[in-house]
Structures are given as C-alpha cells and as structure tokens.
Symmetry: C2
Subunit: 366 residues, 2 copies
C-alpha cells in the first residue's frame, strides 16, 4: 500500500476528524490528525500501538504516561505548552521514537518530533505574515578543513533577487549541540523573523548565514571556508562594520571563542543561552574560559571599542546555561568588558532563541 | 541528558565502532552507527529494543525479520540493495517507526528513513563532485487558490548568483503521491544531477522549480501562483520554448493533465513512471484518460509541433505504473501522438527517477 499511495492515493484527502475546537499544529504532517492543541494550548497526543505495554510522551523533558483504549490507541493530554516550537518524543516499551504524525527536525542528535504552539493573539513576530518575503537557500561546499561535504543555509532578504545593485551586511549564526545548519532555518524561523522585522522597519535588510557548527575547528571552518564562500558568491559588504556573529548554547561558546580570537572580523556579537563553562570541559581548550578572560582583560579597550554590540541573552533562571552565563557576566564586570543582557522566561529552548534573534537583529548595523 | 547534550556534549565525537569494511551511508545521522552497507551493498540494520517481541525492517516493500541478541539489540542483513536512495521502516511490535539513526525524508506520507546506497565505481552522475555548484532555495508564498502558506524549492544553477546579466530557462518538476516539494530537492538530488550535467557540458544551465503538488487544483496552482511568482522573482526566460514540465508518478499525471490543458506554456514534457489510469479513478476528472485522449486526437498536429520533447520513462516491468504507461503509449500510437520512451530497471523508485531526470535534462533547450 505504501507503493500504491505513491501513484495516486495522495490526491484523495482524508476527512478531518478533529475533536471540537482543537487545532492541529502546523508541525503535523498533512494527514497527521494528532497531536492536537486545546484552546488553552495543552497538547493532546495519540499513538496506535495495540501490542505495547507502555507508551510515554516526553515533551521539553517532562514525561506523560499515555493510556490505552480498547482499540489499542494510546492518549495523553499535557500541561499548557509554551508558545513556539517544542521538541518531543514518544517512548514505546522503552524505545524512543519520533511521532509518525509529525514533521521531524534535527535536534537532540536525532530527527525529533516537534510541536509548534501558536503565539498569543496579536503576537505576529514569529508567524508567517502577508509581507515581502526573502528566501532560505541551501548551498553545498566541500570543506578542505573538515575533509567532507557540508551545507550552509543562507537567508536572502526580500529585495535580494530583484534589486541587483544592492549589497548587504551579514549575520553568521550558529545552532546548538545536537543540532546542525537546519536549526536556525527551520526550528528558528530565521526567515520569518527577519521578513517581519524588515517589513516593520525594525531591522535593516541583511543576509543570515547558518552553517554547520559540528566540526573539528569551528574558527578555521568559518573563517577559511564559510566567509570566503559567502563573500565570493553573494552581494555582501565585506568589512567588520557589516559582519555580525551569534550563536546559541554550543554555538554561543563558538561565538565567544571566535569573538575573542578574531575580533577584527565582527563589530556585533550575540551569545544566546550560553557562557563559557566555569571549569575546563574535557580536553577541549576552546571550552576553557580562563584563557579567554585573560585575552579580553589584556585588550579590554580594544574589544570594548570593536564590538558595537556584545549582546547576551538568557532563558531565565530555568535555562541550563544560566549559571555559566552569570559567572561570565560577573567576570566581564570585573574585567570591565561591556555587554548588554536580555532575559526572557522559557529555559533552554527554541522559543527563547527566536526571541533572542528577534531582539538582536534590531540592534544590528545601526 | 537530552538538554545537557544541547550545551556542549555535541562537541565530543563518539568513537566509531564500525564492523570491518562496512560503510555508513551518507543518510545516517552523524552519530548513527547503523545501518551499514557491506562491500556488496547489503544493508545491515540494528535497533536496541530489549522489551520488544518482534522487530522487522521493511525496505522497498520487502520485509526482513530481525533477530535479538542477549543485550536486546535486534539485527538483520538484507539482500543486495539497489544503488541510490531507498525508503525503509522498522516495525517494533507492529508499530511502524523511522530508524532513530537515520535522516528522515518526506515520503510514503510520513517522515521516512532512507538509506543511500553508493553507485558503482566511476558512476559519478548522482554523487557530489568537485564541480561548480548551484544552490537550492526555499521560497514561501501564500497561495490564494489553496488558502494556505506553501513552499517551493528552486534550483539556481552555478552562474546564477554571480553572472547577473544572464537569464535562464525553467523546468517545473513534480514529486509523487505521499511526497512533497522536498522530494526532488532531497531524495531526487536535483542540484547534484544538474551541477554534474552542466559541468560536463551535457545540459544547459537552467532553473528547476519543485513545487508542492498536494493541492485541490494543480493546474491553477502552478499557472496562477507558482509560474507568476517565479517569473517575477528570478531572471528567467518567459516563453514556451524556455519552459519544461515534468513529474513522477502522481506528478506525471499532473504533468500529462497540464500538458493537454495548457500546451501553450511548455515545449518540453517529461512523464516519469506514470500514465493515466486505464479506468476512471475515484471522482477525480483529472484522472480520466478518455477526456485527454480526445483532446489530444482533436489537435494532434498542434501537440506534435508544440512539444519538442514528449518524454516517457519507466522503471522496467516491475514499476507499478508499467501497465498504465503501456496502455497510454498504445493509445498515443493509435492517435498519432509522438513521444520518446526510455526504460531502466528499478521499479517505482527514486533511483529510477534520478536517472529519468538525468536523461530528460539533456534533451532540454536544444
């Protein structure tokens, strides 16, 4: 039947059997009837597994046991979910699976299910809107440094394909651990956020480069492969005043490291839900804060002048990076490194990182 | 632990524990040790599921029971697999899941696991190569016809971003049932095929538009939404001599329908693994062959002159669309509609459709 469906059955749309008032999140597959969201944004999950002994839904780290009906369909309704995108999994007799009814996104080091929970009425910052749209392009390249084929996703703003005389500033932005170049393009809704900000005159048009931070040497990869390829291929402004660097979590540490090591490249730095570890992390010298604090202290005035924005964001005290970032801020205060700090509730999650980009993008090129 | 991994553990690469000589297909996640491929391209699959009673791997419609070791790890080795990309699933006690170690691709109406099996040595047609690369861009648009936000993927050839005075012909190409606009962009390797053909001088540079064929009225969607948006946004040639239309399976029927209904739009038509159904299919008039044969017969000379290429491909007799296509070819012969026919073994699968595009692209704009 799988094969037959390829030939024609896809044309026949199955009748919707939604529970009254519940909505299907946009992250469902087109024929995925569940999960659903109640009017107050509780998630309602279902899975047919007649022979399973135990099925659990795990969303944002919280586990909900599901209950089986007489047809072998397991169900659970969660607490109220945070607006924005949330990773989730199902466990069937201990095997962690993605929900067959959901789109999948690379996160938590695997293809994960996600549920996109609508934002409050009137909050259109992160929703597709009737504005001029840019696009997100996928560019493949062979990295000599990594000895592998890699990809970048690149947001090109609304005027890019039609106003061919224009050049643009560039924001380089990195995903977190267990994610890749798709994180900001899909979970992050980078294009939607920028399209909306640009339409409202809150941000200048810019290009946003989302590269794959899973590499042996991120600084080498970004400076020897990504930046040269971008500057050779797209109509970009090529000076520090028109380059920004940002990242979340693991990508935030990469951002901190490159900001200290190559400050001449960028005048804008954004570090979301991150901070150097307070003690050496494994054998990776780039995780070692002390080296970096020393360099910052030695050339404090230079760094303070070079970075027009040094912007730190945090998903509240419930963010797993809160303490690392707090220790880092205290150290910056002690050394005399200037920064801005923005906190929003939500923990170590994509809704927080979308909000971080939304805020940071408005500070750029001004 | 899921959350912790986001912050830094992703930097630590786990040691590879590959079985001697086996390779990990490029469709594995970066930390996915299985599936593996033996030297003769048998798939070796594994899943840890200590509490499961039965685990099966289903690849290309063929089911292999897996056997459990004393650690609760289930394994199976398949027959020799066809080169190219193959959909597969695991069944755990009857629940169809995607393999947690694999990338997922939208096919069979869900996010499916895939295994990319290497091509024969020296066959570089479908492999990433050291040639000039184009890119694949994702464009969102609001469709008034469908009342929904939709996406197109658009291949832009190597010179597109740097030779700004150039304009290009456009191939519109459609996926099959249970797939969407991602099919040709990811499973189909459209960019890789075109980059390679262009580098070898076997195809002219062109733009390829991959739209979402899951809509109420495909002809309306393509002609009133997709084509106008493409022709307004990109540097394209805007006449029938520079437009081609193609599709596979369900997309092949859509291609046939639009070729008959709007022949003035395209001078090149490609129909892969498809053909009208030999009897009416449900209530969908677009599936009805007789209407179309009548129109073709009435203006036979016009159609024969209009279509510089009317190209039909088939994945051998094992292709589920073989009989539909055979009946259609016989009808074309009877009516006097000219076409070319190309057959390659492999059935109703992506390896066949990659080959179909490879052949068809070489016939365009010549």
């Amino acid at each position: 039947m799988k094969r037959l469906s390829t030939l024609g059955l896809g044309l026949l749309l199955s009748a919707s059997s939604l529970m009254a008032q519940n909505v299907r999140p946009v992250t469902n597959l087109r024929n995925g009837q569940f999960p659903q969201l109640t009017a107050d944004n509780r998630g309602v999950f279902q899975l047919k597994a007649p022979d399973a002994k135990e099925v659990i839904v795990d969303i944002g780290g919280k586990k909900y046991p599901m209950t089986k009906d007489d047809k072998g369909v397991w169900s659970a309704t969660t607490d109220v979910l945070m607006s924005g995108i949330n990773y989730y999994f199902l466990y069937v007799d201990g095997v962690q699976i993605s929900d067959p009814a959901s789109e999948t996104f690379y996160g938590c080091s695997r293809m994960s299910s996600c549920i996109e929970v609508p934002y409050a009425k009137g909050d259109v910052r992160f929703e597709l809107a009737n504005v001029a749209h840019g696009e997100t392009t996928m560019r493949r390249y062979y990295s000599k440094n990594e000895g592998a084929w890699r990809r970048m996703f690149i947001y090109l703003p609304p005027s890019y394909q039609t106003d061919l005389s224009k050049t643009y500033p560039v924001l380089y932005i990195q995903h977190g651990g267990g994610e890749d170049e798709r994180g900001w393009a899909l979970q992050g809704r980078t294009d939607i956020i920028l399209d909306n900000l640009i339409a409202q005159g809150k941000a200048n048009e810019m290009i946003v480069v989302m590269s794959d931070g899973n590499c042996k040497d991120f600084i080498k990869e970004l400076t020897e492969e990504c930046i040269p390829l971008v500057e050779k291929t797209y109509r970009v402004k090529k000076d520090a005043a028109n380059r920004a660097m940002a990242g979340l979590s693991m990508g935030g540490i990469q951002t901190l490291n490159i900001a200290v090591a190559k400050p001449e490249l960028f005048q804008y730095v954004g570090v979301f839900s991150s901070g150097w570890f307070t003690r050496p992390f494994g054998n990776n010298p780039q995780m070692n804060a002390e080296e970096n604090y020393k360099k910052l202290a030695e050339r404090k005035d230079f760094y303070n002048k070079q970075f027009k924005q040094f912007y730190l964001t945090m998903g509240g005290q419930e963010d797993i990076a809160f303490n690392n970032c707090k220790a880092m801020r205290e150290k910056f205060d002690e050394i005399g490194i200037k920064y801005k700090y923005f906190e929003t509730p939500g923990g170590h999650t994509w809704p927080v990182w979308r909000e971080s980009l939304y805020q940071f993008a408005q500070l750029l090129w001004k």
